[in-house]
Amino acid sequence: MDLDVIRELIQLMKEHQIAELDWQREGNHIRLKSAAVAGPPAPLPAAQPLALPPATQAEGAPDAGTAGEAPREEGIVITSPIVGMFYRSPSPEKPPFVEIGDAVDENTVLCIIEAMKVMNEIKAEAVGTVQRILVENGQPVEYGQPLFVLTPPGA
């Protein structure tokens, strides 16, 4: 990891309004916290300070994604029901199941998650339009990790 990477990370944070970033890879560890998008100053932790800072909340995303970390997305968030590899298309030479802007319904397949050599089709199970795709093709995902954001009909 070098300065260029950090510059790029900061750029990404700005672009996508990311408030915090925590990245560990092979001995590198970087943590960034944006002031710009920190939002309205937290209305005070009346709560006591945690004695030991909780691992994931405080330190951010684990390698394989950010399971369960409250996605503050507007819309319907589709999370991964299993652990595995995320694929946007049924095979490398085929086009993706969905693209941003596509209308989907309960039965539309959004992606495949491969677990133990089995291809598991993940359906939308909701009606809406694909607003954002949160995971890159071929990346590993955890249980509960947000994959897609759908805009509900009429929104």
Partner: protein
């Protein structure tokens, strides 16, 4: 050696394995459920993967765990104890996926998991088992004959079964007739086979187990015994080594028998052979094909890190010790600090640890995933810490235990600490001559 080990467990044992890996220079992957997000094993691992919501089943979900290993490129899985540790199918799946299961072969797990098959194999290998019929008894006449040979009381057990069904105790011939009929009927109903066999009922035994290490090159050694007789409803609470009533001769004999048992199973890795001990006679009970909760007792007594040895053995290394290199020094006692209320029938007592201050100083080891402000989730077992004390002899270990338990500050929940402080004042416990009936009698 492995590059990266996934730990398919939680709590103190997950942390224990991470510690061993760090000291071996191996990367670690923690898996966790949503309620375990703040657990220390997640914090101290190099990587972590969420595998499900807050249920016990998540840690038993083989496909999820294999997937987690695959996406993180882990080349081995350590199952800890409980969950998938003695699941032969899981061991097989690991093998198919070319991920090394840190434990014995699926075959050894299966053999020792089937109690009737294990008993037979042990008889064949010359390991003493509880006296009784070799196979299922043909009828009342044979049952009475065997009962007379071995002496009352006797226990009838379903050959195919387990879990208490098809089990009956008899103290006389008359009672045996009735018990046999009932046991056979129950066994038939439960397991589809009415076959029952008969064993001597050992009334007031000590539970003494032998720790084994076996490498993949045929070397098998034992690391002495642990006396685990302080149990409540088959849950061990206190374990110590040496067993206060064992002499060198008996220790050698039990060690040799345990090695025979491991060899008969073509065992690899760390394992424990459990025996009942009464009147200087010992009988094979079962073999646990995993690391055990109480393994630190042996570690402190011998100076050998059992988790590291497990990992080394799984990676194909030869054992670095021979039997004669194993020395036992001092006396070690372990206490399981559980979030349970000893005044209310040991009811589990999950909740937030408002204070968690552990004892320190000489001869004190703490294995714990807890910390101040940690919330114990109600989904899993109630153990929050193991306190292991070592002294140069049993008297010093007992006094040290007293001192350390007194220093332990846990606030917010009830624990077994006050119960242990009472046990440490009990004459029977102090004499060392206690049996598995101790806790029950202690409460009367």
């Amino acid at each position: 050696m492995f590059q990266k080990i996934l730990i398919a467990n939680r709590g103190e044992i997950a942390l224990r394995i991470i510690r061993a890996c760090r000291e071996l220079g191996i990367k670690t992957v923690a898996v966790y459920t949503e309620v375990d997000r703040d657990s220390l094993h997640v914090r101290y691992a190099d990587e972590d993967v969420c595998i499900g919501p807050g249920t016990a089943d998540a840690y038993r979900n083989a496909p999820q765990i294999i997937s987690a290993a695959e996406i993180t490129d882990a080349d081995a899985i350590h199952p800890g104890y409980g969950f998938l540790a003695e699941n032969a199918d899981f061991a097989e799946i690991c093998e198919q996926c070319r991920i090394k299961f840190i434990g014995p072969s699926a075959k050894a797990i299966r053999m020792m998991g089937d109690k009737a098959a294990a008993r037979k194999a042990m008889m064949k290998a010359g390991v003493p088992v509880t006296p009784g019929s070799k196979d299922a008894v043909s009828g009342l006449e044979e049952a009475i004959q065997v009962a007379h040979e071995i002496g009352y009381p006797v226990m009838l057990k379903a050959a195919a079964g387990g879990g208490g069904r098809g089990m009956r105790v008899a103290h006389t011939d008359v009672a045996l007739a009735g018990a046999l009929a009932t046991a056979q009927a129950e066994a038939r109903a439960a397991f589809g086979s009415g076959e029952v066999y008969l064993e001597k009922l050992v009334m007031r035994p000590k539970h003494v187990e032998i720790q084994i290490l076996a490498d993949s090159h045929g070397r098998v050694i034992h690391l002495g015994e642990r006396d685990c007789s302080i149990q409540r409803r088959h849950q061990k609470l206190v374990e110590e080594s040496p067993c206060p009533t064992l002499d060198d001769k008996l220790r050698r004999d039990m060690g040799a028998a345990a090695i025979k048992a491991a060899r008969a199973a073509r065992y690899e890795g760390a394992g424990t052979v459990e025996f009942l001990l009464e009147d200087r006679k010992f009988y094979f009970m079962e073999m646990n094909t995993r690391i055990q909760v109480e393994h630190p007792v042996t570690e402190e007594l011998t100076g050998i890190d059992l988790i590291k040895e497990q990992i080394r053995i799984a990676s194909g290394e030869k054992l670095g010790y021979r039997q004669k290199d194993i020395e036992f020094r001092g006396h070690v006692i372990e206490f399981r600090i559980n979030a349970e209320d000893p005044d209310y029938n040991f009811a589990p007592n999950p909740g937030k640890l408002t204070t968690f201050h552990v004892p320190g100083g000489p001869g004190v080891r703490i294995d714990s995933h807890a910390y101040s402000e940690y919330v114990i989730p109600p989904h899993y077992d109630s153990m929050i810490a193991k306190l292991i004390v070592k002294g140069k002899n049993r008297a010093e270990a007992v006094r040290r235990a007293n001192r350390a338990l007194d220093e332990f500050v846990v606030e917010g929940i009830r624990t077994t600490i006050p119960f242990f402080l009472k046990i440490l004042r009990n004459e029977r416990f102090l004499s060392g001559d206690y049996t598995t009936a101790f806790v029950e009698e202690f409460y009367e």
